[in-house]
Amino acid sequence: MKRHSSRVPAILAALAFALPAAADVNVCVWGTITGPDAGVNGMSYGTVDYLNYLNQTQGGIAGQKIHVILLDGRYKLDEELKIYRRCVDQENAVVVKGWSTGSAKALREQVQQDAVPFISETFSSEVLDPAKYPYLFIQGATYEQQMLIGLRAAKAAGAKKVMLMHGDVEYGRAPVTVVRKSGAIEKMGLELVDTIEFRYDAQDLTAQLLRVKAKNPDVVYIQASTPQALVILRDAAKVGLPAKLFIGNMYNIHPSIPEQLGAAAEGFRAIQLYANYGDDVPAMKEIAAYKAKNQVEKEDLYFMKGWFGGKFIAAAIGNAIKKSGGKPPADIKAFRKAVRDEMVALKNLDSGGIAPPCSFANHQGPTQARMAEIKGGKYVAVGSWVDAQ
């Protein structure tokens, strides 16, 4: 309780003191600080904390202090669109890090027009097109690639019949539609027996799970977030379907699932793209050093993703400053273009073990993933990293 009560003043302070000093390099980050998917907002905090870590330990990036602006999009599209405009027009951000699939899709054309490097937390393939959207980046295997990695693992274990379940939001619907229409499941030698769309804030999914039971699939892939996975696994147990039948995406790795469901969650698998918080990787030493002097809001996998995102941004900004003679280009448009070019040029980015070394010429960085399974009330990595390609 104490930890959370200190969060609101911190957020207010971040919002209130968002006035940049003249020489700062501005980076704008928005996420769901308060809202339905706030459980994964470590992705925003991680990036902010990494950039602040550089300010504290190295005086910023290439001698330039980074002014980080953290804003709350509340998982509301209109709010996210307003924030984007603020970041570009008022805050003069050289890089903008956004949040949802919906906002990334809504802004993908605008971002090119504004020519501002834009990183989204989405993994939707619909925003991943380096030729069409040269300023738009994601940070890992797409939802579609995650789905295929999960199904490939199921096939290797002997599965033949597949079902897909997804929420009735863009994040749920779009990737499932892309995969279904691509015929990738059939090409893999699996049969797609049914697809179920459900209400994103559903309190009960018994009827849907009875439909699953009637189809008798060997594996069910869930394209939804933690609260929906909770309802699915709970009602699955109720109708006699085991958790091991289900695979979720990277947003289904959350402690509340095993904590709330107990034995009913055992065997549930999800796709993991980044190292766990606390893993024995070099980045954890940086995080521990930062934590010794600062409050870390989230200590989870999503914070690791955010820390990774911070490294990506910092590397590109650093290279851009070095190439322009050690000082940022005076013209913000030129600076943004230089940073975008450096993002694409990044090769073997060392994320301190959070993800395997990667380049961003593909605009998505690392494409490896591994499976995590709930065993004994905890997520445990099963198998090694496999490449989505």
Binding site: G39, F198, L210, P227, K238
Partner: protein, 304 residues
Amino acid sequence: MLLLQIATAGIATGSVYALIAIGIVLIYKCSGVVNFGQGGYAMLGAYAAYALARAGLSPPLAAAGAVLVLGVVGALTELLVLRRMLRAPVVAVMMVTLGLLILFRAVCLAVWGPDQIAFPQIFPQGAVQIAGIFITYNYVAAALLSLVLSLAFLAFYRFTPMGLMQRAAADNSRAALAVGIHVSNQVSVAWAVSSALAGLGGVLLATLNGLSLTLSNIGLVAFPVIVLGGLTSLMGSLVAGLLLGMLEAFTDGLLTPALESFLRAHTSIYSVGALQQVVPYMLVGGMLLVRPQGIFGQRGTERV
């Protein structure tokens, strides 16, 4: 068997809807105010139970404690906020209840943060299987509680002096005052009971799906229930809650698969989306056209 299982799931969900809706009706019956903040009281009740459990109380005791706390919160709401608005237009009071919802969300956010929280287990995990039908213990509790409470409140209004006073205060507050009824106190009692009920509903929901700020959205689900059942009818809330729950379950379990199967075979349409959230509102719209006062509501009459 499938039909029975779907119907059981619908009844179980509908029971929770009914429990929240009964609280809204209680306040409306006594004060003429539609409480848009009912979902906020449900959420607050769940967080209160969580806090009490964290403080060391056993989960059932924490739930009981939260219901009491919410009763006090409801009474205080009436005493400190709504009593000062006795002469204000009803719409203004309703807007205040909406403000209370926002305030409660802000308080819970500040204290407990925005994350999903695992809620303490009050009932045994798992489901009871009766003749091949699965029902979780939480839903058995919700169904029994809403049924018992609805009947208890019906009896309370019909057979007790206080129930009579509440009905009198709701029907004509001036006339009630003239015969010596302390109308404000009656409204306080209604708020206390309604908030306690909402708190109980919130606790039940949190035991099902975990705890987060989105729990307050349940208040929105309750509105089709009270419109369908009739704004003044407790029995209407119960029946409409169950009806809505069943309707959602059958839409999910039968209508959607059949429709999708047909569309996939004959058209390029693959999915009809989450149809369950359309059907209830269509029903409410139809009901308002045919019977504006709801299933159990009474048409208002005025002596001229």
